[in-house]
Symmetry: C2
Subunit: 464 residues, 2 copies
């Protein structure tokens, strides 16, 4: 069991107030899923959907491990420049599979492995603070962009490159740089060719938000000692579990169909992912991009679709978002992630036994408390007819994390078919990009300039 | 100008497709606001809504500064045990007003000030990792809970207390502990009295999510050198700007009314807060609790209301959530936070001028790039008829952060009146608490046990 999905609390019958997916809705979902499954297979056979090949891409794994071995040994710090899919995957892997607060540990506590820093924005204060505290002579700089031309990453690169050149000289600077980008197109590839900078490929048919199992995620993970072979093995095991065209035996299919039906038939437009485990917190953040950017689309008939993913963390968000989940509008699903087998961890000592708020806790464990709170929250939601489901993994390991990542990627591909959208493009961000290019004077953005100039201007009536 | 709000892109007229709040809707909002304003004043006069008094509570400030001075000097680390409102405020202040990655800096880079760690969950791995890397003899432990009995915080306390007692002896352990809690009720207050542990008050009429300007936020902030007097001064200045019963001149009122009308009249149930500044990222997370837990409620007539707040960060989330904001359902508002005057920060050097993706960037600054991207995103959303607004602060200072925090708190109080809910309770989390107590065997939870046993059980048909 790399993972298990219980969706009892999504289904009509036991929930009060007529809530939940009905048998006929589920039967319709199963029929639609058969088509979705076939279309995903067909697209993969046609050479798109390269993410499906990543779990078994031994060549990419070998290339990544070789680069990590060659470059990782002599540095204290790895600095990753990237944004969106180029940063969220590496961050999720680090949080899940390295000890908490990895970057605050001493080098001994890290077994000599480097820290991993990500710059995933263009805030000038963040970048200058980062450069002021790194020793560039002991830092490896990864520049990660699928397109090879992402504006934020290019700006970061130009600044960090100038600092490297100035500190180390141009020749040594080149040796400190690693690029991860498309095999052919884009500025990073061109610079790499011109200057001989070591570069790993993101396959042309793998988009940024589906790239965590490519060198985008694997290279930084390998550099900080994560068992990347185990991550891929877990993903491959999940792929095997999700091969079936029968909805009843395909967990990725069930996840996609239950969310789609909840959105479409039950108004559950907001879909929270709520792991009850600190290490999985950033998998929720990674999922937000995957689900939002893949499914938030205009369909061929002109209608806008797409659920809104919401990140949450148990038990913490019981004190922030659960009030809304319980009593706010019934427009949400909550998917819990449970980590099994932690009931023995974190014994709570007995003390102040006379105090009612303290006395009952002694002798329990934190692991049990966390799982009791998850069950209690799931049960309370169900008691109010609020849809929820639970994914269980046996432990937070490379294998289970790889399985979770792949589960959500494949579910997203299925969901794209169910929603009848292309899950692999992002046309909606183009207009904003063009407006920014126009304001920055990038050649070719003249048409956007004219459109920009025609936009509403700040109205003095609507200022305060 | 501590802050400025431009809501042009929320209003009908210039937006395409008939989108936006109409003049008659706005007039209705202004009328409702007058009532809301009066009711908030009346409640405050009646002695509730204590958060309004915090910006000018000189006694609490003096007590907090005295404790910080007395206890802060000789420690390397401050460990805060708390969850929800007891952690989100301190985290937001640290992110906003200390250099990035404060805890990764050396003691010299921190000017001798301590690190600040928060444990805001009961994950056993996080707590044991935290204890293993702290020197308890050089650590100050803050235990923060309004009720004085929050289960997660009590569990953390029992574990950390046992470690302190064992490492330092009971007498020294008491000197390492500071409590922040209700003046009268709860286990923490009782323990403090029995054992002589230094304790600061959260006023009885201040709820957890409205407590950031009480010692909950101010004590950890003061310990790491934040200008807490400046934070309060900014909040007080914001309070003065938001005194007016006229909607047109009250920024907190405008924020509340525009969100309420967008939700009620235009289906904008999801309300994103998107600062374009890394230091303000955790203010969005703090806002999520404030807005969700205050407004997600069942009204007297039995209907469920409450918008869903969504955290975002610019420019980063342009590569994660903006596709959904642009092309997904028109069910959102986006409120940007802009930091003024950064156009000169972070010069981007020229290099690779022959590459179209790189050549145009040289000579611009990161500060300008960030603001251009914000304007471009706001404009692109407006061009598609998607509602958005911009709050501008002059810089990220103690004053402007204090002003922002207070703005959102007061807006939440107004919004509670507009939605006709009690913004200051959280009855929806009670059922889950009772279920957890029942499973843990806390005396008095027998009724919950019976209700729990009657809940739906995992159904083998809905497992995969």
């Amino acid at each position: 069991m790399p993972l298990h999905l219980d969706f009892t609390n999504m289904m009509a019958g036991q929930l009060p107030g007529g809530a939940g997916i009905t048998p006929s809705q589920w039967a319709h979902g199963a029929s639609r899923f058969a088509t979705a499954h076939a279309r995903v297979l067909a697209q993969h056979a046609a050479g798109t959907l390269g993410f499906i090949d990543l779990p078994t891409d031994e060549d990419a794994l070998a290339a990544t491990l070789a680069v990590a071995r060659r470059h990782g040994g002599q540095v204290d710090d790895v600095l990753l420049l990237g944004i969106g899919g180029s940063a969220l995957g590496p961050i999720a892997l680090r949080s899940a599979l390295r000890p908490p607060h990895w970057n605050e540990l001493t080098v001994e506590q890290r077994d000599g492995l480097p820290r991993l820093h990500t710059l995933d924005n263009v805030d000038p204060a963040s970048i200058s603070a980062m450069l002021s505290r790194l020793s560039l002579a002991r830092t490896l700089v990864l520049v990660v962009s699928k397109s090879g031309g992402t504006v934020e990453t290019m700006a970061q690169y130009l600044i960090v490159r100038a600092a490297l050149d100035e500190t180390l000289g141009e020749r040594e600077a080149r040796a400190r740089l690693l690029f991860v980008t498309d095999p052919e197109v884009g500025a990073l590839r061109a610079v790499a060719r011109a200057e001989g900078i070591t570069t790993l490929d993101i396959p042309a048919n793998v988009g940024g938000r589906f790239s965590v199992l490519s060198p985008v995620g694997l290279l930084p993970a390998a550099l900080i000692g994560i068992d990347v072979r185990g991550v891929l093995a877990g993903a491959a095991a999940c792929a095997a579990r999700c091969a079936s065209p029968e909805l009843a035996t395909n967990p990725a299919g069930v996840f996609a169909v239950m969310q789609w039906l909840a959105d479409r038939e039950h108004g559950a437009h907001v879909q929270a992912l709520m792991p009850y485990a600190d290490p999985l917190r950033d998998i929720a953040a990674w999922f937000v991009q995957l689900w939002a950017e893949s499914l938030g689309k205009i369909r061929a008939d002109g209608t806008s679709v797409g659920p809104t993913p919401l990140p949450a963390l148990g038990a913490t968000d019981q004190h922030a978002q659960v009030q809304l989940f319980m009593e706010g509008p019934a427009d949400k699903t909550v998917t819990f992630i449970k980590v099994d087998g932690r009931e023995g961890e974190g014994l709570i000592p007995s003390r102040h036994a006379e105090r009612p708020e303290l006395g009952y806790l002694g002798g329990h464990t934190l692991g049990r408390l966390l799982e009791v709170e998850r069950q209690a929250t799931a049960g309370a939601l169900a008691a109010r007819g609020r849809l929820n489901a639970t994914i269980t993994v046996p432990a937070v390991t490379a294998q289970s994390v790889g399985a979770l990542l792949y589960l959500f990627e494949l579910a997203t591909a299925y969901a794209g078919e169910l929603y009848e959208v292309n899950a692999f493009d992002q046309p909606g961000v183009e207009l904003g990009k063009q407006f920014a290019y126009a304001m920055l004077g990038r050649p070719g953005s003249e048409a956007a300039r004219a459109q920009w100039d025609a936009l509403p201007k700040p109205d003095p009536r609507w200022q305060v």
